[in-house]
């Protein structure tokens, strides 16, 4: 860490944040920029370029990227087999992907946090039950569990979220349990107990803060993996219904037109790949930042 210069142009908290951002490696800037771009695109994109899954436009079928459509607009990423704009489908799919990933990670993360705290802090039979349950579930390949649940529940965004959250909570529970276990018997927790703090107070004020950084790292990584899982389910026809755009279902459509219209499958896949790689880089950076040992 550089000692602060006297003629610091940006003093205070803002300055500290700016300096930290500027000190990050180039791949961090790339990843942060990409994630921001996609979040903005997912939130605002569908407002600018609306996607209507039911609309068809026969004269605009399978047009290559950059073609002018019959209504005068330019299809920057081409059109699909029913004349829908791929850019609009990609933007709408971004929103679906983002929604599913965020809600899944929040739900699975909260359940995992609660279970992990219970198991790690109280130990005993609570730990026994939760850990065995986790062992049993992890012995079941998570992709297959998601396919099974999504297939049985039927195609809807809520069901995809349920299926994916069920497969993810264990990962969060394990992370939190590990951190809770590590601080449970430290002196500052003992002293709080001696001072008469309740279990609830100890959990929230003493245990929780040290569980949050690893939980945050896990959540970042899981957002990327959940996006891939959602796209995989939709690709198999078990994800969101056809009335909603999803990168997975657009890629599945594109598979049938690889010879004539490669852009249908390529565009959403490239978007997914870029986001997931960026989130992976961010996850690595967060892990390094939360673990001082890696700097040595």
């Amino acid at each position: 860490m550089m000692p602060p210069k006297l003629d610091d142009p940006l003093p205070g908290r803002t300055g500290a944040i700016v300096r930290r951002l500027a000190g990050l490696p180039p791949r961090a800037h790339f990843a942060l920029g990409m994630v921001l771009l996609f979040v903005v695109a997912g939130v605002l994109g569908p407002l600018l370029v609306p996607f209507d899954a039911a609309a068809t436009s026969p004269p605009d079928r399978l047009l290559p990227p950059g073609t002018r459509l019959s209504d005068g607009a330019v299809a920057w990423l081409g059109t699909n087999q029913v004349g829908q704009d791929i850019l609009a489908a990609v933007l709408a799919g971004m929103r679906t992907s983002l929604t599913v990933a965020l809600v899944t990670v929040v739900v699975a993360g909260s359940v995992g946090l609660l279970m992990g705290l219970l198991a790690g802090y109280f130990g005993g039979w609570a730990d026994g039950i939760i850990s065995r349950l986790g062992d049993i579930q992890l012995a079941f390949p998570s992709l297959l569990l998601a396919i099974l649940l999504a297939g049985v529940l039927g195609p809807s965004m809520l069901n995809v979220i349920i299926a994916l959250a069920v497969t993810r909570w264990v990962i969060f529970a394990r992370v939190v349990r590990g951190s809770a276990l590590a601080v449970r018997d430290r002196e500052f927790v003992d002293s709080a107990r001696v001072m008469g703090a309740s279990h609830g107070r100890i959990l929230i004020h003493y245990i929780l803060p040290s569980c949050l950084p690893p939980l945050l790292v896990a959540a970042t990584v899981q957002i990327g993996l959940t996006m891939v899982a959602e796209a995989s389910l939709s690709f198999l026809g078990l994800g969101v219904p056809p009335s909603q755009a999803s990168w997975g279902s657009t890629i599945a459509q594109g598979r049938d037109y690889l010879a004539s219209a490669w852009w249908i499958a390529a565009a959403p896949g490239a978007a997914l790949a870029l986001v997931v790689v960026s989130i992976g880089i961010l996850g690595d950076l967060l892990r390094d930042a939360s673990d001082p040992m890696t700097e040595l």
């Binding site: 062992d135 049993i136 079941f140 390949p141 992709l143």
Partner: protein
């Protein structure tokens, strides 16, 4: 050692029971009437009631569960209503192609993973090392079904040198096996790189160098052999992953394996086959994990001390 194997075996049996129970709960307890799904929405109430009685769906759930477990002990998963054969036969018939695909994916992973990993370790922090580590990150992040589609776009549609769907030839195996392997090539490469770098700092390497052995001999005879021990045990885990993750790749390349059977059976609500496929895959997966743990304990005596 016996105690460790015994405890690990008990754990594996518990996991298999758990997996069977998860499948049972998903298929029978969650909302949705199998009889209605099989007969369709036009079925009369009498037909529905008849099929429900035939399938034993009128019994209380605990009774159904016991019947189910009894059936499984006799390896009886029921009949596939779509194919008219026993669900287990329908499933085992498709297991062969999946195993072939997984085995080839394993060959790709091991060969490419060792090549890239040991090259990266011997040229640590070079441009090539960085390139390998970046591509391994990208390879692990890319969704497998998209890699598969892009590979078939390039090699099957563009260059027209490889078939994009299964036709029984060796050439049709290359694309799906490579697609399945790709995410794990980077993973194994990283493992090999770390392992080699760690071994390179060991005393015996300095001794070997001091004896005047060439870099090549030190690397291939001493270092690589010692990195093999922990990595060989990981290959069992890989095989389990290939069988489970093969589902998507099999669908992309129309590979006639167990994973595609699973997706088809879920789509057509052929639940007896779904149960059989999931049980077979999970048993493979858990057994491979068990073998890995036991093998690891056998190869590395320190593991036993920790578990004693």
């Amino acid at each position: 050692m016996t105690a460790f194997v015994g405890r690990r075996l008990a754990q594996a049996l518990l996991q298999i029971w758990g997996a069977i129970t998860i499948v049972f709960v998903a298929l029978r307890v969650l909302p949705g009437d199998p009889a209605e799904l099989i007969l369709g929405s036009q079925a009369t109430p009498e037909q529905l009631a008849g099929l429900r009685a035939q399938l034993g769906l009128d019994d209380p759930l605990p009774v159904q569960y016991l019947h189910h477990l009894q059936g499984l002990l006799r390896l009886d998963f029921g009949q596939s209503w779509r194919q008219g054969v026993s669900a287990l036969d329908a499933c085992l018939e498709r297991l062969g192609p999946t195993l072939v695909l997984s085995a080839w994916a394993m060959v790709f992973t091991v060969v490419l993973g060792f090549l890239t990993g040991s090259y990266a370790a011997r040229h640590a922090n070079s441009v090539a090392d960085r390139l390998i580590s970046v591509s391994s990150l990208v390879g692990q992040a890319l969704p497998p079904f998209w890699i598969g589609i892009m590979l078939s776009l390039i090699f099957a549609r563009g260059l027209q040198i490889l078939p994009s769907t299964a036709d029984g030839t060796m050439a049709s195996l290359l694309l799906p096996a490579f697609t399945l392997a790709l995410p794990f090539v980077g993973w194994l490469g990283r493992l090999v790189r770390t392992g080699v770098l760690e071994e390179m700092n060991q005393d015996y390497v300095r001794t070997a160098r001091a004896k005047g052995l060439s870099d090549q001999v030190v690397f291939y005879v001493h270092v690589l052999r010692n990195t093999l021990v922990p990595i060989v045990t990981m290959l069992g885990l890989l095989m389990g992953n290939f069988i489970a993750n093969g589902v998507i790749v099999e669908v992309v390349f129309a590979w006639p394996g167990i994973g595609r059977l699973l997706v088809d059976s879920i789509t057509f609500r052929d639940y007896a086959v779904v149960e059989a496929v999931l049980t077979v895959i999970t048993v493979c997966y858990i057994t491979l994990n068990l073998l890995v743990d036991v093998l690891y304990g056998y190869l590395d005596p320190r593991i036993q001390l920790e578990n004693a």
